[in-house]
Amino acid sequence: MNETASVVVVGAGPAGICAAKALVAAGLRPVVIDEGLRAGGQIYRRPLVDDGRSATDLYGSEAAKATRLHREFDALLPSIDYRPQTLVWNIADNQLHLTANGVHQRIGFQNLILTTGATDRVLPFPGWTLPGVYTLGAAQTALKAQGCTIGKRVVFLGSGPLLYLVAWQYVKAGGDVAAVLDTAPFAAKLNLLSAIRFDPRLVLTGMSYAARLVRRGVKLHYNVRPTGVDGSQHVEGLNFKSGAKTHSIACDAVAYGFALRAETQLADLAGCPFRFDDRDRTWLPATDDAGRTSCKGIYLAGDGSGIAGADAAEISGELAALAVIQDSGMAADPRRMSVLAGARRRKAKLRDILEKAFPFPQNWFDQIPGATTLCRCEEITVSSVIDTVHGNDLRELNRLKALSRAGMGRCQGRMCSAAMAEILASTQKLKLPEIGRLRAQAPIKPLPLSLHEAGS
């Protein structure tokens, strides 16, 4: 017999923790499933074992929040059914398919809160698949979880708040940061001034990272486009253009990314309708203010429902839990819900401004050579994808996947589909929403072939 839970929360980052807390407060005992070894999510990730670093060492300005969330989650443990290191890889017929330690399990649910978070949004450039090139998120994970840096001398590249944050965390941890290369023009940062009224602490803290980096002698470049990575076996340097000038920097690691992309495959498999989001340049599951989808019993919170950051994730996690409570016919404080919904809308406005300050690099592919790998799993180049588009007059993303094999490998397009979409749209002079989105297929991440049912 498979078990059925009244509420399952997938993910134990800020959204999942706050959802669980609100559910427990209402007298429910949620199942909390998380891929991580310890709760906290990506942003408040804890070391695998405590290694003597303080919360301030690990989380800097966010130490108080991280400590509070960790403490709150630890206090919830007796009141929840917590399943760490467990991957949810499919949803079908109101059942989650899980795997932990090579064993397959199913768990039915009446209510499901998906807080699946986000990964780095990456775009290809010459050399991006060379060992030594990491995403910004991976560079941060190495530091937080394992207490190590990705290289001795690191270049940070891209666009997004994480760019300056992680660079500063590396400097603070004693790392040698060779340069910070922002793909946006400096003028874009002036947008931050108008964000101050929404969240002065966040904006001023964020701006201070750049100032502190400069004070430590780290070179900042704006309007950057990378032209290549030196090295045949491993990164030895990065070449780039900043405006009209070309530069070359010696380094043994590059961390890069362009903000985040929501992890939406489970919502897709659950059958949630999607809408196109202009700001995130992608399709997102449609929800109301409280995170309700139009699928009965399925709710979304956190960055998995659209990139809004950790503070917004706390708000949307609690809101989704209150929506579950309300929809189950229990008492949920409507005033609290409306306060949270208002706070969530303010975070969304802040996000709009941040997107202007850390914009997506338009026309990225104008300067990317055709021989650059686009889909690293299947080793498909940019020019091969463009040739497939032209050769078949393609206008739809799944069709491009089928005919080019891009997005068909181990990551199932999680890493390359943003770039695929940009290339298809720009090649055919279409708008992003016109080319559709890759349909999710189970399993959402690779599964061991030897997976077996519990008890067999």
Binding site: N392, A402, G409, Q412
Partner: protein
Amino acid sequence: MTRRFSADVAIIGGGLVGSSAALALRLAGLSVILMDKGFCGAQASGVNYGGVRRQGRPMGQLPLSQRAHQIWPQLNALIGIDGEYQRSGHLKLARTPEDFAKLEHYAETVKSFGLDLELYTGAMAKARFPWLSGNIAGASLCPDDGQANPRLVSPAFAKAARDAGAIVLEHTAVHAAVHTNDGFALQAGADCEITCRFLINSAGAWANKIAAGFDEPAPLSRIYPSMVVTEPLAPRLPVSLGEEGGGFYCRQVTRGNYIMGGGRGYALADPDFSRPSTTAALSVMKRATTLFPHLAGAHVIRFWSGTEGQLPDNNPVIGPSGTTPGLFHAFGFCGAGFQVAPAVGAILCDLVTSGETATPIDAFSIERFRNMSSQHNEKKGTHNEMVE
């Protein structure tokens, strides 16, 4: 604004059957309009397992299958790509002595067709195919059977038809088709009116609506294969593999991925879309680990399904309409259409251009269902073996 088209032949359904018919008809000099409600080759033709197999087919299908066998090596000339077609051999395993007896019986029965089947006892099979493990009572190898990539082959036939001058209308569903004095009149898509002398119904799992519109419904049901693919792995499995009685089939593609299938998926709320069944996928994965110990530690990266037409006697409908002159049907390939489809296209071209074909197709006439009651329409296909 209405868009008006006129052609010698209109084809409903741009799967491998419709597309190969379109290409053959163009090469024969006729004007052709090929329509698909979605993308050409995106349904069963494009998402199937990719087995290019004669072995295991009922005798009645073998002349058709042999004709297709002559076409597959010519893909490069026909459609400009080889479609990863290779005559890798098709090895059919028997788990039990009873199943092996069936393989021996089949080999004897089809001897005159020249499949050159090679029979191996369990020990011989493991000596000849050292990568094989598990409970194997025997095996039958068809050395010239093989495999190809449906994802590439099927759309390429449609593209070749277009390049040869066919008008290809994708995302253009046919709403109405009626017989007129001098042929047929069709309404399709948002704004298309089409007239033609001949009409081909190759609409796969959706074909029965067209057939019923001409007063000859067939007991067509839908089946949904359940497929699993691994990450790319070192080349080890040289043949396409099946099992007597069905339940498991597997091949390793050029890229290194193992594609395996067995069991059934299910339809979503919109029955035009389907999902693989987790239970079936896990059972396929378990069988793979038994047969191939070298796959221990491998990962699967994707499941998928598709929609195929099934008929109760496991044979397709191919041939002229019993009610309407100038109309031809070709659908219901019961999960085994990929290999024969290019020959079916050629046969449809024969029928349109000359009214006859040298390939025996009487067994596939739609008229065999004339007296069947409509209750068969909902009957589920249960014969699993043919899905490869």
